[in-house]
């Protein structure tokens, strides 16, 4: 623990020996390509496959009508909504799957795709979510019996009346309208699969890019059980995954079509989407329109907040939230501040855009919540003329007040927000920067300093509240130690770059004293790994990491019994130090863990079960609440609007740290996925539902040039309920960075009365805002 062990998995990746889905090539494997809709909303009049079928190598063209025969044309989403696998009569968004071409090689499949002729009758789509609830808006989900509008669900939490009273009476009320734009995870590996159905044995092996292989196996069994693919006949293998960030949690139509085709023809079928398909059709993230309000006193005491959300889910709610939480963990949005009055409500609507609402390194809507609270807190500070750091310091929940009950029902487990912000301010040189800014303002130069002090909520989650499709959100570890003292450990999670092979080995090494290099970690094969809900939403360390520690402790208890037997003393006479048990007061009388394990196979006490293995399914008692204090410094060119991020200091608190190098790496990556939506990324649709930037030419993933040199550090407030005091970290920086950047830019522009800009804040937006205020 606490050691920057170099990663075990790197040896293969740096030598080109990673093994990703697209690397799989099976004998007789067929290739699938997908015909997609050019329209956002249209009736399908006819699909002519004749020309496609004449192309050498093309074997079949599959349409919704074909799947309908097997009742496979619709599937459930993880939010218990429904989604088309292939349409029978209507397309609901541009780039929706319309037909699949199966061929003997990828080129023939692509030729076939170009040759499929589809006749459409375009209809006027619903694109603006605010207009989707208009009385004259067409009802999009006519497949749902009795559906009379485009409303999906309403959610609320807090005290509506008390909040209204507070806002009516408060000295100061501030309000901003914000859009947290639709963005895409854009992991460098796209999604894909090889579905390999063996007719003789009635068995499906599904190699796929999934962050949650066990859950997917269960979903496959639920969807296709009626055609014989029951759960014991399905093996899901998630090999090396080239980045996930939440985008590889859902089941996409391509996977299901590949399974259906393999099932029908009895050959392996590969489907790997290209980048444009990935950006245009796979699950998006965010797309929340938020009205944020804060009430407080003139001298800077925060008294309450109110948030009203309109959530654009596209044509189906295909988010991946725990069932009870349609807005995910948005209710963390009261933030790091000590007040008890809030009211939050959300309405979700259907539009003619791709389905989702999943992920972007934070699948449970914490990013939206943190952006709203951190922006409106700055807005409040600006309104009363108080330094935003000072205002935060005065309103933070105090270290001694943890565990702290939030007005939305969470119990924050631990935190020291004052220490984090102080450390960040010292690191960046806050006071000197404010002086420099004052000097620059006198000269008319634009410099801004932005702060974000966020509280995260990760590690879903306790089974009393958390499930996906009814499956409780525990996670698991199984440790087998071989007679010679070397181990294999398997988990229900699935790394997509997080370094589980290293960190899980470190946890077990810490608990059992077996060196990490002698512990092989495996994930992603449902035939061998214990059941778990997978890796997303920063849950692996809080759940499976905890399971590893508890399973290792079970083994240590067994080791104590064996040691007592071997040393012929009572268990109470033994003391543990990593790697061995020794007799109290006689340290020379000792048995190493390797000797004990060998005895478990060769000389175990009579009556004791032989072998040395343990499994644990960890059901967390609470979530973990990491936090962070981020400070961003920007310089803006008044003439062009160009924004330069000069400094970015991030201080994270994720409790006890297993591997500082890996945690820091997670923070670096998360920060870059924070600057991305803050300044560059947004999926843009025109009023006809055409995506305007659906390729990597136009969708601006930051390069090494746009990414600042991140300055990172940490504080440690251990989680009191986690077995090793750890909290999740992967998504924290993505959550915390956008408001720090937005606050810095708005701070720079504040002398001109600019109080808010929606992300992504581009040079044009800055230039325009300044011109609108009369700056030339």
């Amino acid at each position: 623990m606490g050691h920057s062990l170099k990663r075990k998995e790197d040896v293969r990746f740096i030598q080109g020996k990673g093994h990703y889905v697209d690397d799989i090539q099976l004998p007789g494997m067929l290739h699938m390509d997908i015909v997609r809709s050019p329209y956002a909303y249209a009736k399908i009049k006819n699909i002519n496959t004749e020309a496609a079928l004449k192309i050498p190598g093309v074997i079949a063209v599959v349409t919704g009508r074909d799947l309908e025969k097997y009742n496979l044309h619709w599937m459930p989403t993880l939010m218990s909504d429904t989604q088309m696998v292939l349409p029978t009569d209507t397309v609901m968004y541009q780039a929706q799957e319309v037909a699949a071409v199966i061929a003997t090689d990828r080129y023939a499949a692509r030729d076939g795709k170009e040759a499929v002729m589809v006749e459409y009758e375009p209809m006027k789509p619903v694109i603006d979510p605010y207009k989707s609830l208009d009385p004259d808006a067409p009802v999009l989900r006519t497949d749902k019996e009795g559906k009379k509008d485009n409303h999906i669900w309403h959610w609320e939490v807090g005290d509506r009346e008390a909040t209204e009273k507070l806002f009516n009476e408060a000295e100061v009320v501030v309000k901003e309208q914000m859009h947290i734009p639709r963005i895409h995870v854009a992991s460098i590996e796209t999604c894909g699969c090889v579905a390999d159905y063996d007719k003789v044995n009635n068995h499906l092996t599904m190699y796929m890019t999934t962050q949650a292989p066990h859950a997917i196996r269960t979903v496959i069994a639920l969807v296709a059980g009626h055609v014989g693919l029951t759960e014991e006949k399905v093996r899901v293998i998630s090999p090396d995954i080239g980045g996930g960030f939440g985008g590889k949690v859902p089941v996409y139509p391509g996977y299901v079509i590949a399974i259906a085709v393999s099932f029908l023809v009895g050959k392996p079928v590969k489907w790997v989407e290209d980048r444009s398909e990935n950006l245009q059709a796979d699950s998006f993230a965010r797309d929340y329109h938020i009205t944020a309000e804060m009430a407080g006193t003139k001298d800077g005491k925060i008294l309450g907040t109110r948030f009203k959300i309109l959530a654009d889910h596209g044509y189906t709610d295909a988010a991946a939230n725990p069932s009870k939480f349609p807005t995910g963990m948005f209710s963390i949005g009261t933030g790091s501040y000590d007040y008890q009055t809030t009211f939050m409500e959300a309405d979700a609507v259907y539009t003619n855009k791709p389905p989702g609402g999943v992920a972007y390194r934070c699948s449970f809507r914490v990013t939206e919540a943190v952006h709203a609270i951190e922006r409106i807190t700055d807005r409040f500070a600006f309104e009363i003329g108080k330094d935003p750091a000072e205002l935060r310091m005065e309103n933070f929940i105090k270290k001694e007040d943890f565990p702290w009950k939030s007005p939305t029902g969470w119990e924050y487990d631990s935190g020291d927000y004052h220490a984090g912000l102080k450390k960040a301010m010292d690191a960046v040189g806050y006071e000197a920067l404010r002086k420099e800014q004052a000097e620059k303002r006198k000269r008319g130069e634009l410099m801004g300093i932005g702060i974000s002090t966020f509280t995260e909520i990760v590690g879903a989650g306790p089974s009393k509240d958390f499930d996906i499709l009814g499956i409780k959100m525990f996670d698991s570890a199984e440790i087998r130690v071989h007679p010679t003292g070397k181990a294999i450990a398997r988990f229900g999670t699935k790394s997509q770059g997080q370094g589980h092979e290293t960190t899980y080995a470190q946890i077990i090494a810490e608990e059992l004293g077996i060196p990490a290099e002698h512990i092989q970690v495996e994930e992603g094969d449902t035939d061998t790994a214990p059941y778990g809900l997978g890796t997303y939403a920063s849950r692996s360390t809080p759940t499976a990491g905890a399971a590893a520690a508890v399973a290792a402790r079970k083994l240590r208890d067994k080791a104590r019994k064996i040691a007592a037997y071997l040393l012929e003393v009572s268990e109470d006479d033994l003391e543990w130090e990593p790697g061995k048990f020794f007799v109290k007061g006689a340290p020379e009388k000792a048995k190493t863990i390797q000797e004990i394990v060998f005895a478990a196979y060769t000389n175990h006490p009579q009556g004791m079960e032989a072998g040395f293995e343990a499994t644990h399914y960890y059901d967390p008692p609470n979530l973990t609440f990491p936090s962070g204090a981020y400070i961003c410094v920007v310089d803006i060119d008044k003439d062009t609007g160009e924004i330069k991020v000069r400094r970015f200091v991030a201080i994270d608190d994720c409790g006890n740290i297993i591997n500082p190098m890996i945690v820091q790496g997670q923070v670096h990556g998360g920060l870059t996925q924070g600057i991305a939506p803050a300044m560059y990324e947004e999926l843009i649709y025109d009023e006809d539902g055409n995506i305007l930037n659906g390729t990597f030419m136009d969708y601006l993933v930051p390069t090494a040039v746009e990414s600042p040199s991140w300055e990172t550090g940490h504080t440690v407030t251990p989680s009191p309920h986690h077995p090793i005091g750890a909290k999740g970290v992967g998504e924290s920086p993505t959550v915390g960075a956008p408001p720090a950047i937005a606050n810095a830019i708005v701070d720079a522009l504040s002398p001109y009365g600019i109080t808010h800009l929606d992300i992504p804040i581009t040079p044009y937006k800055v230039w325009k805002a300044l011109r609108d205020k009369g700056v030339n």
């Binding site: 030598q15 690397d23 992991s187 590996e189 980045g243 670096h668 998360g670």
Partner: protein, 167 residues
């Protein structure tokens, strides 16, 4: 109408029949089974498919196999030698310059050419030098460090500390 081509890949000669439209990346990955070279986009933007063609870094998703006829191709699989890892490979491992590993082979090949042209690049030169290669995981800080490490090692200078500055 297939064409006969001969390419040398990591020093090994291969004669192949290819369609004129076949992309070099597909030949490398699917015929020669060198799957270290990856495909990450369809617009020549991400650089996951970067290889060296006669020593120059190119995105092999935008090179036709027939254009490589008679040329030398180097891929990530050819980087390590009997003596061990290439300093860049070592640099990436020691400095946590990769997470998921998908962009890594392309980054390595691009960095290899960068250091051949500019053995002692500044941080800014490194950042611009790899700006045709996207990484979604690392935030680039540690990729820059990895290349600086390799530069030092290849020039016989003392390699910088690989301890994370995470205090």
């Amino acid at each position: 109408m297939k064409k006969q081509i001969t390419i040398s890949v990591n020093g090994e000669k291969h004669s192949l029949e290819v369609e004129p439209r076949e992309l070099l990346v597909h030949i490398i990955r699917e015929r020669l089974r060198l799957t270290g070279t990856h495909i990450g986009c369809d617009t020549t933007s991400c650089g996951a498919c970067t290889i060296l063609l006669n020593g120059k870094s190119v995105k092999s998703c935008t090179v036709l196999a027939i254009q490589a006829d008679g040329k030398e191709v180097s891929t990530v699989e050819g980087m390590a030698t009997a003596e061990g890892l290439h300093p860049l490979q070592e640099g990436f491992k020691e400095n946590h310059g990769l997470h998921c590993g998908f962009c890594t082979p392309g980054m390595l090949m691009r960095a290899k050419e960068l250091l051949e042209h500019n053995p002692n690049p500044t941080e800014e030169e490194i950042r611009w030098g790899i700006s045709g290669n996207l990484c979604r995981c690392t935030g680039y800080n540690n990729i820059v460090k990895a290349i600086q490490y390799a530069s030092a090692k290849m020039q016989g200078r003392e390699t910088p500390s690989t301890e994370p500055e995470f205090v």
